[in-house]
């Protein structure tokens, strides 16, 4: 009886849906391509929309609808739920292991072959984070790299002549640049390395210490390297110098990272680790700021790392279940390989162009602040974080671990890191992946 009733109910529901779906079908004319991108702040979305509308005007068979402010979670949800857009793009590659591994994003190999595109036109670093286990399901759409921003006015006041190159110089400068209010609270912070604050996540600092996540088999090895402990102890000692509570309070009083009240732009952060796009934000929001850019300082014991940085980038691809696959691919092809399009985006967003041809395009507007990041991007030691089957959860687990450590410290950091390793491995296994996507 129950089964009959529930079947009847399901049939009724299905009928309703069929009726609803029928209303949406049967349109003619140009195909509407829905394109999801992460950009939302300031001029960024406007810049992307300009490039998209140029394409739109030149191609009568499509009209392009750009939706900004998209996160990985939204992308994943839409694909699982079976109603994805035509083109998807994410700010970062953390979830590529999931996208490629599960087939959520289509394998691009047949498309690349059809359009006769060789992957050699893309920089090598970007090729790692757009595939998983040999399956390429994404292409780079501009790249990001990270460095040190420093406030020249504050540097002059503190009689510091050049940006720090080693962690010990960085620490000394940070302390010199810090100013406190009479009640002991922080007024200006030299450098805030607090994990979770603005762009501070473990993988970006790990670059400065040459700290690695996985071995060649894909097993977590954080506990096996001295670098992780050394880095975390340094970070914790600097935080303790400010006072953990002071620092958290100071951060709570700063404006949103992607608004004109950004702490570096308002002069409350003398130095800050940030991505190359900040150059464009400062130009728009705080044009008067006297600042410089430099590679991130590195471990005193490993000077050869100086000049390198963490690399990641916006990725773009085709979701499983998208409707107008051919038109969508044509647009993706244009965005990721057309020199003019990439140069225009790179100029507007101040992102690193992601083909070799566009990197030397005459259309690129030269900018001294930005040139630093192009150099970091091309440094041989620059690298990215591993692509894992558990996606973002992998780096999140490390981040939570570090956040606990920066708050409470640890009597046995090495042992705790070893425990973390086994949790990371178990997580990857649970997510259904046997190993990672190779070493970055």
């Amino acid at each position: 009886m129950k089964r009959v009733v529930s079947t009847a109910a399901l049939a009724a529901v299905v009928g309703l849906i069929a009726a609803a779906a029928a209303i949406g079908a049967g349109r003619a004319g140009p195909v509407k391509l829905t394109v999801w991108v992460g950009w939302s702040a300031g001029k960024e979305l406007v810049t992307f929309k300009q490039v998209a509308s140029e394409y739109d005007k030149a191609h009568s068979d499509v009209t392009i609808d750009v939706v900004g402010g998209i996160t990985d979670q939204k992308i994943t949800a839409a694909i699982r739920a079976g109603n994805p857009p035509d083109v998807v793009s994410s700010f970062n590659s953390y979830d590529v292991g999931i996208y490629c591994g599960t087939g959520a994003w289509l394998d691009l190999a047949p498309f690349l072959k059809k359009s006769n595109i060789s992957t050699s036109i893309f920089p090598k670093a970007t090729m790692y984070y757009t595939q998983y286990g040999g399956k390429r399901c994404a292409l780079p759409l501009l790249a990001d790299t990270y460095g040190l921003y420093y406030n020249k006015t504050l540097f002059a006041k503190a009689h510091i002549t050049h940006p720090p190159r080693t962690i010990s110089e960085l620490t000394a400068d940070a302390k010199k640049l810090t100013q406190r209010n009479p009640d002991g609270s922080l007024k200006v912070v030299g450098l805030d390395p607090f994990i979770g604050f603005y762009e501070n996540v473990p993988e970006r600092w790990a670059q400065s210490y040459g700290a690695k996540y996985i071995d060649s088999k894909g097993h977590a090895i954080l506990g096996d390297q001295a670098a992780w402990q050394k880095m975390m102890q340094w970070q914790k000692s600097l935080i303790d110098w400010y006072g953990y509570k002071n620092l958290v309070k100071f951060q709570a009083g700063l404006g949103d990272e992607f608004s004109a009240s950004n702490g570096f732009e308002t002069g409350k952060l003398a130095m800050n680790m940030d991505g190359e796009w900040r150059v464009a934000f400062i130009a728009n929001e705080a044009a008067k700021l006297q600042y410089g850019t430099a590679p991130l300082p590195v471990d005193d014991a490993q000077p050869k790392l100086y000049g390198s940085g963490y690399i990641n980038g916006t990725i773009i691809g085709l979701p499983k279940g998208g409707h107008n696959v051919d038109q969508a691919w044509a647009f993706v092809d244009y965005l990721t390989t057309n020199t003019h399009a990439l140069a225009e985006l790179a100029n507007g967003l101040k992102n690193v162009p992601s083909t070799t041809a566009s990197a030397s395009s005459k259309e690129l507007v030269p900018d001294a602040h930005f040139a630093t990041f192009l150099k970091i991007f091309n440094n041989t030691y620059s690298s990215t974080s591993p692509i894992m089957a558990s996606g973002q959860s992998y780096t999140n687990l490390v981040q939570t671990f570090w956040q606990n450590f920066q708050a409470k410290g640890s009597k046995n950091l090495g042992g705790d890191l070893k425990k973390l390793d086994s949790q990371l491995d178990a997580q990857v296994k649970q997510a259904g992946g046997s190993s990672g996507g190779g070493v970055p």
């Binding site: 849906i17 979670q73 949800a77 839409a78 079976g82 009083g253």
Partner: protein, 292 residues
């Protein structure tokens, strides 16, 4: 109120000391209440003041807006599709409430007034359904709606209401139990069929309870967050007010002043409705004491 309590009691004049102590106690009691009332109102006041501040001021430690940024309440509408969110919320509220009343009244009536085998067991099932967290069924339901291609719309949160809601059934049943049998019998003697008895006599008598159920349903749907988040989180066209508000700050990089203006705007409808229907509200809550 029992009859005993209403019997007038002859009071003799109390000794001075006792009266004095009582007076002091009353003063203390009132001071406490006033202090608590200020504490309860303070958050509203701070939210309002911040909503009237400029960007920079909201990040300072000053309390009083200077100058008053009234235009924040206009800017909010530019920054966020509040109109769209409101329409979606209304769609959810109205469709869910109507369906819930139409489907729950008959069930509650059957459970309260009709005799059949398994009635008590069925009522127990209603109680269990009422108490289990929605999280226990949400994963398979999500899978089901995803297969039906309805994730990304509000239908997965609306449709279940058309098939009876445990809370409403419970509440209506409690009320139907209090209707004297003679009223129903009188209607039956007049030759009305069982269905007519329900649709005319019972529904008319239960108007206050039905109003309370409708009110609670409106409140519940207006405030609902978890299920709309699951099903419409990624499709901003279908966001209800609560989802929009929760994403407001991170989505538009706007500052606290505008966020608080939006917060105030989202609080306003409920508070207005409360003052319009205050009596029904408090009585409804007292009657059920279950949710609101």
């Amino acid at each position: 109120m029992s009859a005993v309590a209403q019997t007038p009691i002859v009071r003799r004049r109390l000794p001075r000391a006792v009266r004095r102590r009582r007076f002091l106690l009353a003063v203390a009691n009132h001071s406490f209440l006033i202090a608590a009332a200020i504490a309860f109102l303070a958050p509203f006041v701070f939210i309002l003041l911040t909503a009237l501040m400029t960007n920079e001021q909201a990040l300072s430690s000053r309390f009083w807006p200077h100058p008053f940024a009234w235009h924040n309440f206009v800017d909010v509408f530019h920054d966020a599709p509040l109109g769209r969110w409101t329409l979606n919320t209304l769609q959810y509220s109205v469709l869910a409430t109507l369906g819930l009343l139409l489907s729950s009244v008959p069930v509650a009536y059957a459970l309260a007034r009709l005799h059949f085998r398994g009635r008590n067991a069925l009522f127990m099932v209603v109680l269990v359904a009422l108490m289990l967290p929605p999280q226990v069924s949400v994963v398979p339901l999500y899978v089901m709606w995803a297969k039906l291609h309805l994730v990304g719309t509000l239908w997965p949160v609306i449709i279940p209401n058309w098939f009876g809601d445990a809370f409403s059934i419970f509440l209506l049943r409690q009320f139907f139990l209090t209707i004297p049998e003679e009223y129903l019998d009188a209607a039956r003697v007049d030759g009305l069929g069982e269905l007519r008895v329900l649709t005319t006599v019972v529904v008319r008598l239960a108007k206050p309870a039905i109003a309370a159920v409708a009110l609670f349903s409106f409140l519940y749907t207006f405030n609902d967050f978890f299920l709309p988040l699951l099903y419409t989180g990624e499709s901003s066209h279908h966001w209800v007010l609560q989802i929009g508000l929760s994403q407001f700050r991170s989505l538009h990089q706007v500052q606290w002043n505008l966020t608080m203006a939006a917060t105030l705007l989202v609080m306003a409808p409920v508070i207005v409705i409360f003052f319009l229907a205050q009596k029904a509200f408090v009585e409804g809550v007292t009657l059920t004491g279950v949710k609101g």
